[in-house]
């Protein structure tokens, strides 16, 4: 039966040689190499559940009075968009499961990408010849941040509506072109015209998914063409020789199993743990707000930054050059991503002077400077994240907010430096420890040899 199928395919496509090569294509074996796959499978779940959601969502901001089954919002005015998400969550069988799975998948997708990025960075996998793969990956991360933001803003609930206003303010804060850009995107001042939500919708369900799918395809093709990097953990593994597990039968059940496990985690969360209960928040109005509003986790660093930047607009005479939200909302992510994009260049020009090809990976301790700088950047982002939770810390633990803000202002300047020094020290010490151990073993072998 298998022979019949294979024959059928090869006769009509001529791909038997390619398929045979694919079946025995080798995957170097380490658990951290599977993190990218987790992101891929989360993406598949996103698309699958997302298509289902599009069949129920209405992208209209025309208002309607709610007369449905959810009592606390009875008789309230809301947009069709909000009402469609409310109906999906309360009235459609399995609607809430699919919606929550979709939202959890988005959060996990970006978390997986970040873990994958950390692995790539701290092992030096982005080095020649894989810079293109790396840049495409970064672009996918950037795009996913926007995609997630647009996705949860489509529900037009109180929390995400407040978030949209802030996004508008960040756009407005861009020097010289801010208001023009914001007017373009929103078709006028916030909340924009009736065209804005349909625009968000089509970008979220068509433009960005197409972009992501294309980038993903090129990313995977590049990985396959140049083959995956590997650690030095097998004596046969060298810069020229790859050691790994073939696609079939070895890798296939593992990858498929990981896919099923990812789907399992996402659907279990989607059914058992509530996420974005928009019926509790109520519909958005520009004149309404709630305390404790936060963006989804992957934008949490931005709210932290927006809160701790001191209050000033940079003006020249009557011209407002840099409104306040720019620093936390635009400059910080700009610098962060610029650093990541430029890092392969910066590293080989200023840090290692190493312009060669690399198929073998470093362990973090093998590249102390890279690890130190990476830890510094990571610490900075993490501290800014924490700053965004300072108000809830005050509410829960009584630690006063204003001193926390001052503490974070100091920490974001000092913390990364300390982290870098510490990380560097740890790497050097670990290497030293290994050298000592190596010498000791050599001496033992020699002694045994003489005896």
């Amino acid at each position: 039966m298998i022979r019949g199928l294979v024959r059928f395919v090869d006769q009509r496509t001529g791909t038997a040689p390619f398929l045979r090569k694919t079946l025995r294509y080798l995957f170097p074996d380490h658990w951290s190499f599977l993190l990218g796959e987790v992101a891929l499978y989360a993406f598949v779940v996103l698309v699958g559940t997302g298509i289902y959601l599009t069949l129920f969502y209405e992208d209209s901001t025309a208002t309607v009075v709610y007369h449905g089954g959810y009592a606390p919002l009875q008789g309230q005015e809301m947009t069709h968009a909000y009402r469609s998400v409310l109906d999906l969550s309360t009235n459609v069988k399995a609607g809430l499961l699919i919606r929550q799975t979709h939202h959890w998948a988005a959060n996990v997708f970006i978390a997986a990408i970040v873990l994958h990025l950390l692995r790539i960075f701290f092992t030096g996998a982005y080095r020649k010849p894989r810079e293109l793969t790396y840049w495409i990956g970064l672009t996918m991360l950037l795009t996913s941040l926007l995609e997630g933001y647009l996705g949860y803003s489509l529900a037009d609930d109180l929390l995400s509506g407040m978030g949209l206003a802030i996004g508008y303010a960040v756009a407005m804060s861009i020097p010289f072109v801010g208001a023009n850009l914001a007017a373009l995107i929103w078709d006028g001042p916030f909340p924009g015209s009736h065209a804005f939500f349909p625009r968000m919708y089509i970008v979220h369900v068509l433009v960005i998914p197409l972009l992501l799918a294309t980038l993903l395809a090129v990313h995977l093709a590049l990985v396959a063409l140049k083959h995956h990097t590997q650690f030095r953990n097998d004596p046969r593994a060298t810069e020229r020789k790859l050691v790994g597990v073939p696609t079939f039968p070895g890798q296939a059940p593992r990858s498929l199993g990981l896919f099923m496990a990812t789907a399992a985690v996402l659907f279990l969360l989607g059914g058992l743990v509530q996420i974005n209960p928009i019926w509790l928040w109520g519909p958005y109005h520009t004149y309404s707000a709630t305390n404790g509003a936060q963006p989804d986790w992957y934008l949490g660093w931005l709210i932290g930054a927006l809160r701790i930047v001191p209050g000033f607009d940079l003006t020249i005479g009557g011209y407002t050059l840099v409104p306040n939200p720019f620093w936390g909302g635009a400059a910080l992510p700009l610098v962060f991503f610029a650093f990541l994009y430029l890092w392969p260049f910066l590293e080989r020009r200023f840090v290692t002077r190493d312009y060669g090809y690399h198929n073998l990976l470093d362990r973090p301790r093998d590249a102390p400077l890279r690890t130190a700088i990476g830890m510094a950047v990571l610490t900075e982002v993490f501290l800014v994240f924490l700053a965004g939770s300072a108000d809830r810390v005050d509410v829960f633990f009584g630690l006063p907010y204003v001193p926390q803000v001052w503490a974070y202002r100091v920490l974001v300047l000092v913390g990364p430096v300390l982290a870098a020094l510490l990380a560097h020290r740890v790497c050097v010490e670990l290497q030293r420890g290994e050298r000592v151990e190596h010498e000791r073993k050599r001496a033992e072998r020699l002694a045994r040899g003489r005896a």
Binding site: A94, L97, T101, P129, M162, A165, I166, Y168, A169, S173, A179, A182, A183, L184, P189, F190, P191, L225, H227, E239, K241, L242, V243, G244, V245, P249, G250, R254, L256, G257, M260, A261, A264, V265, F267, L268, L269, G270, G271, L272, H285, T286, Y287, S288, A289, N291, G292, I303, L306, R307, G311, D313, T315, Y319, T320, N324, P325, G329, Y357, D391
Partner: protein, 330 residues
């Protein structure tokens, strides 16, 4: 004679050499994938897991149909999630116990292909096009201009050049203040130590400049600067409800119960805690806002209703490059 001997020797060598390899049974071929482990226990386990997965998948459909069940979403998620989980477990058992663990070697591909690179360059150069610089320049100019031209209609997405709308508010002299239900606000209904949300009569409530936050202070609490002297109506002051930092609604009013010990009255934004002082005309006392809260001058009409005496003393909403260049318009 020599040829026959050579033939015999080679034939014998071939025959003998063949014998040295492990003999294959008729029809059998050399293995590519090594022998998988026997693992009957593992196979049983995997079968069990797959059956469990199937059972959960069935349970999902059953739960889906029985939509009166309590905690419906939770049961659906549990059924489907467990189905995937058992499936995953079965596959992992296969991966680790039922197939051969191969660790093979292969070559990394060539770093580059200099010969092919040369051929490509040669083909391009020999075409003769690369030497015609002017032609290429003109080609580039055409491509670039066409590209830019195709982007031009994007400007229709919004008023990218005409930013006059950012200064527009629905307030003019005489505009009445109304509440959430459209009922006009009376000056004598505004009490101290509380706050009111108001809107411009007849305006779209969702437009940022429409919404106000109105509070009453005592005359001795007021300390308005000269630019906003007289903006109050007997101690009643009105400000834009939209924070000048990032556009959230200022839904927080700090109203001290006992002035000697409690913090001063303040309007606070719940997003990043920009704090504005109503007594001094909306100046920023804490937080990342870079601009004071726009204040609306008020008057009381003969019937006792609150009306605007003019427009805000600054544009409403988050700052942008032109926010200090012009006054708000109607």
């Amino acid at each position: 004679m020599g040829k026959a001997r050579a033939f015999l020797v080679s034939a014998l060598t071939l025959l003998l050499a063949r014998r040295r390899r492990p003999s294959l049974a008729p029809g059998e071929r050399e293995r590519i994938v090594p022998e998988p482990p026997h693992g009957y226990d593992a196979e049983l386990l995997a079968i069990g897991l797959f059956l469990a997965s199937a059972a959960c998948a069935l349970a999902f459909v059953v739960v889906y149909v029985l939509d009166r069940l309590p905690a419906h979403t939770q049961l659906l998620g549990l059924a489907l999630g467990l189905s995937f989980a058992f499936f995953a477990a079965g596959l992992i058992v296969i991966a680790k116990r039922l197939i051969a663990t191969e660790e093979l070697e292969d070559d990394y591909p060539e770093h580059e292909h200099p010969a092919e690179q040369e051929r490509i360059v040669q083909v391009v150069e020999e075409s003769g096009l690369t030497r015609r610089r002017l032609l290429l320049l003109a080609l580039g100019a055409a491509g670039g201009s066409l590209g830019v031209a195709l982007l031009a209609p994007a400007a229709s997405l919004g008023p990218v050049i005409h930013v006059a709308r950012f200064y527009l508010t629905p307030w003019r002299r005489g505009t009445r203040l109304v509440d959430d239900h459209g009922r006009p606000l009376r000056a004598d209904q505004i009490e101290e130590k509380t706050f009111y949300t108001a809107f411009a009569e007849g305006a779209d409530k969702e437009q940022l400049p429409s919404s106000l936050v109105v509070v009453r202070l005592r005359r001795d609490q007021l300390d308005l600067p000269s630019e906003s002297a007289g903006f109050d109506a007997d101690g009643i002051v009105a400000f834009s409800k939209i924070c000048t930092h990032a556009g959230c609604a200022i839904a927080l009013y700090r109203a001290p119960m006992f002035e000697p010990t409690d913090p001063k009255p303040a309007l606070v934004c719940p997003c990043h805690y920009s704090t504005f002082d109503p007594a001094t005309g909306g100046t920023v006392t804490f937080g990342p806002a870079g601009r004071k809260l726009p204040m609306l001058p008020l008057e009381v009409d003969p019937k006792g209703f609150l009306r605007a005496r003019g427009n805000f003393d600054g544009p409403v909403g988050p700052s942008w490059w032109g926010v200090r260049l012009k006054e708000p318009t109607t």
